[in-house]
Amino acid sequence: MIVAQAVELQLPKIEYVSILPTLALITGALVILTISALVPKRMPEGFWTAATLITAAATAVGAAFQWRSINVAGARSAIASAVVLDGFSMWFAVIAASTVALFALIADGYVQREGLGGPEIYVLALLSASGTVLMAQANDLLVLFLGLEILSISLYILAGFHRRKIESGEAAMKYFVLGAFSSAIFLYGIALTYGATGSTRYDSIQTYLKLTPEESEAGVLVHVIENRGLVLAGMALLIVGLAFKVAAVPFHTWTPDVYQGSPSPVTGFMAAGAKAAGFAGLIRLLVIALEPIKADWRPAIWALAVLTLVVGSVLAVVQTDVKRMLAYSSISHAGYVMIGLWAAGGTGGSAIDGVIGAQYYLLTYAFIVLGSFAVVSVVSGPGDGATAIADFRGLYQRKPSLAVGFALLLAAQAGVPLTTGFWAKFAVIKAALSSPLDRGLGVALTLIAMLVTAVGAFFYLRLILTMFHAPEGMDDEHLDDAGTVAVLVRERTALAVPVGTGIALALSLTMTIGAGLWAGPLLNFAAHILGR
């Protein structure tokens, strides 16, 4: 029998400004879905893109309101301490808004070419972005899990969005099975951490882990930590679950297949959005909740960073498919962000520098990778199949603007100075070197990162050179042949860039080169929002 008990129900005060970006994204998605269901007439294709762009703009405005609120009332936790409102969460709301806007612009031309039109792809992207925002501001393991699932479930469907392509279904299947597996591992980590510390809230976990045995015996808290084994196992499982999402080696095996099989715009969105979300969750979890046991997680993150950097770059060299190559390159980029994360556990100034570097890296990488996949989605052609490096041969002759744009973005990924890619690498490595206590490990990490950057320069440059190389059938001896060859050349030359994709590429280049040449404002702002 259940006995009714008069328990006073405490409703948390809901501060709506703390969840404005999430609200904007979800409302936008629901409005788009409702319009598509209720309006009997077929909407023009551009309508859904426009609606998504408006939602992304509303999200950015929401983030601006948050920033004003932070300036007035300071960074704080809200809604029963389930979420945090601070500069870090605002920064990731901006990343989510930018990724979803760029994605909508790229997807516009793509879905029309592939005959996949309709509102669904945009709705799923908006919902996925709301998961990113939620993960960045989670102050509770369960809210983090909620954000992770909102993000992932939308991405599973997006990966299989090209219904007639078997590779797309394969990508969705692989991503779903492995993703569900990693979610289960993550959930087990939550259970163990809760069991060990008695709370799922970051601040409570931190307070609990900080307690020395004397304090807990003196009755400051009711729990007594008898054995740290439980919390260490929980920590390990939490890291594994999120390392899967950010594609860190050795949890990266799904990445090449899923990146190759997914529709090209979706791959870009995945690389930008899911990586930012995973790292946002990981950074806040490790730097806030598990800060007292950083002596335990830092070696693990150090090893993950080294493995991710080396394996990502080395395997990218041997790829013959551009999407697979970009997949391995994105793995290696995750390694650079991990350097920032490792530094974020350091002492003194390096801690905040590490977070600054990581968040700056994730924003700039989002623009670079979405721009890159904008080019890939055009060059891959009808059916989204022509993604071999050979298909990029002579891109300069077919469409000079695309080739030059892609070359600049690849240079930025390689870390060439005067691009944001350089400043991002610079920021994380500077943070790794500024920790006075463990300079040796920091220097080792830096040296490995330098070597890996050299390897990266090789495969990025190879692709750039391929693009500027004349394609077969266009060098002099073939041009003399009459008839068939001329037709072949004309066919290969025709390459129309949809308006939206062009705008997305232009935006991406403006950000990458603009903030690369004039780096001060963005770098300073990244530091400023963390109170630097």
Binding site: E8, L9, T34, S36, A37, L38, N227, L230, L232
Partner: protein, 121 residues
């Protein structure tokens, strides 16, 4: 052994115990059970019925769509019961929140209806 490493010992013991349980129970079964294979025993088990043709056959997807819609409203009930018990305490605010929740779910139903999911094909 240092205290630092000793703390990790629990993790190792935990993992070893899990592995030992799985391997032990399967291994023990393999050791003590009689082994008399007949052709019937090697047939794939399919709820007691003899399996017909291969494994690659098309199956009806329409049931799954209905099942998905059912789960949506099934889960809704899970949230509505505790809400109903505490409605007095939550007053108007609680009512509005639940209406928003049901509204969002109803949008899903409207979408499914317009996409012809409710039609039995």
């Amino acid at each position: 052994m240092s205290g630092f490493l000793r703390e990790y010992l629990l993790v190792v013991i935990f993992a070893a115990a899990g592995l030992a349980f799985a391997l032990g129970s399967l291994g023990l079964g393999a050791l003590i059970r009689p082994k008399r294979p007949t052709p019937q025993k090697y047939v794939v088990y399919e709820s007691g019925v003899d399996p017909v043709p291969g494994g690659w056959s098309q199956s009806q997807i329409r049931y799954y769509i209905f099942a998905l819609l059912f789960v949506m409203f099934d889960v809704e009930a899970v949230f509505i019961f505790p809400w109903a018990v505490n409605l007095e305490a939550m007053a108007v605010f609680g009512l509005i929140e639940m209406l928003v929740f049901i509204g969002i779910l109803a949008l899903g139903l409207v979408y499914a209806w317009r996409k012809q999911v409710l039609r039995w094909v």
